[in-house]
Symmetry: C2
Subunit: 350 residues, 2 copies
């Protein structure tokens, strides 16, 4: 047996998760002499991805939702774990391979059973390992698939992105820049505004806390909006609808503004929905594992790898170093303090 530090989901949080009470770090042990699970494999893990969706899974399991509730007393489920295979009993996963395991425990060593969803990573020159948990992982699949499938971008279109400096927003924005769109980002502080316009190449942006929303869109999108990539909902959504062009597309990726409301009646009510008829809008939701999103995987892999390697696309990460600091990294992500994709470094890759 060796030490196996894990990020543990101890109890269901009420409001913000509390370090040491709801979330802890514990040694759960790993039997390094045991064979791999039948049809599965074992790994040493290097990175885990933090994602806002994890908070939704820390709930009373009797409340159903699109993703399963986590089990208390077990490691926190990460969207992705990136690690190297130690022993394998699975034909398509070789010993020594670098793998991305979806929806897996945040721990130092794993015994991965046969039903896990696994990708064997083909390392590409010029692409950092962390990109496989971001633009080449779920975040990038979300962004690339939905932008193309629902947003139907055409060169010259104007796109508005809410939560533009967030993990998904910054990938959507960079893809849109590459494809010749006029790209406008909405963010909540001036540092993020600098980041999207100066570092990521967005055409423009605004701080929604400082400027009247209607004035900002009138100023930045004088010819109207063709695509609204919406991560937030709320009043920006209501105002944006009145700036959409005929046959515009609203990609409904999230509605963060509603997630922490105690009840639906606290939500901002959208009053301009009549424009969906008049302007012939298409307003559509998706989840990353839907077939119409994952069908874009190969094109996403090729394009984003190429763009990262040639330096025209940035994979911006906020890396929390060491599993002992997992709670801090997780809470920083939930509070929006981390710029870019939030990752946990579990061990130095080898």
């Amino acid at each position: 047996m060796v030490q196996n530090k894990a990020f543990i989901y101890k109890s269901i949080p009420v409001g913000w998760p509390v370090a040491g009470k709801d979330l802890t770090i514990e040694d759960i042990g790993f039997d390094d002499a045991a064979p791999p699970p039948k049809g599965g494999f074992t790994t040493k893990n290097f990175y885990a991805a933090f994602d806002p969706s994890q908070r939704g899974r820390m709930r009373d399991p009797s409340i159903s939702s699109y993703s399963a509730a986590m089990q208390t007393g077990k490691p926190v489920t990460s969207v992705h774990i990136l690690g190297r295979v130690l022993k394998s009993d699975r034909a398509d996963v070789k010993e020594g391979a670098l793998v991305l395991v979806w929806s897996w425990a945040t721990e130092s060593f794993s015994a991965v059973g046969p039903s896990a969803q696994v990708e064997v990573i083909e390392e590409r020159p010029g692409v950092p390992l962390t990109a496989y948990l971001g633009p080449l992982g779920m975040t990038g699949m979300t962004a690339y698939g939905s932008l193309h499938e629902i947003g139907e971008p055409k060169k010259g279109d104007t796109i508005l992105i809410s939560a533009a400096a967030g993990a998904v927003g910054q990938v959507v924005g960079q893809i849109a820049v590459r494809e010749g769109l006029h790209v406008i980002g909405s963010v909540g502080d001036d540092a993020k505004l600098d980041f999207i316009t100066k570092d990521l190449g967005f055409t423009s942006g605004f701080n929604y806390k400082k400027e009247d929303l209607n004035a900002a869109l009138t100023r930045l999108a004088p010819n109207g909006i063709d695509i609204f990539y919406d991560n937030v909902g709320g009043d920006l959504l209501d105002v944006a609808i009145t700036h959409m062009n005929t046959f515009g597309r609203i990609v409904a990726c999230g509605s963060i503004s509603t997630y922490n409301n105690k009840s639906t009646s606290d939500n901002y009510g959208i009053k301009n929905y009549g424009q969906v008829v008049r302007r012939r809008l298409k307003w559509q939701g998706f989840l990353v594992l839907d077939d119409n999103i994952t069908k874009w995987r190969k094109e996403r892999d090729e394009n984003i790898s190429k763009w990262i390697a040639d330096g025209s696309f940035k994979s911006v990460d906020h890396v929390t170093d060491g599993i002992d600091r997992a709670v801090e990294g997780f809470l920083g992500m939930l509070k929006g303090e981390n710029l870019g994709k939030s990752l946990l470094k579990i061990a130095e890759p080898e």
Copy 2:
């Protein structure tokens, strides 16, 4: 010159149009000895269609919208006029042909210029002439095209239709019944409830003024709703969203509940829009002349003609007899007093 009685738009109404002030009947004369307009034709008219969209065109012309404002002092523009060709200078419109002229003046005789949108009617056995202004006219094109293009109906799906006894709603419902869907209608009085369930064959329905909306949908759609065909918006839309199945479709045809509000701030605010993401809904608007709607025309013509002829589809009209009574028929339509498609009979067809 012969007498040519016309339904005249005299002045811009404030609130409900007033008979004799905003709307009148006048003789505008017709020169029956003159040749037809160059590249056009003349007609004797039999029917005109009333439609709620006409009210929106009776506005200050400086307010832009998707359809042009009517001109005061001129005849009221009807969605369709059905008449017979008297003289023609247009190759594809023969003298004696029965024609449907889109967006044309409500008058007894017309001189139709070369730019008018015209359909030459091929009379089909068992199909009454009035059907060409309803299920085989704009109403039917709206219903058939949008239901199939956006609603994507599959046998066994559950569809909810608001304003189900209205001109569009009753056509959508009957198509859905024919195609093997579970069809639920929302209506505002018990006579309409009887009409849709007993006369038109809807699976079920409810009176939204008498029953709690959530209770009604729980009772009538225990397996959820796959398609919501929405003519109304408002609280029913908000509640219906919470009963939609994964990958459900909302066909945004209209939002009558907002049309008479003095400002957008009076509109009911939709709070459950976050379900668009979770349930992966597609919520899409359209207008009847959009290419993706009119591409269904041939299929619509064939199917609905066949269904009317074999007696399995009802073309329900409310006919106001005589152009002298046009104001009464128009106001009855606006107030929802007419059951089925509202038509004006201008002259006995010959």
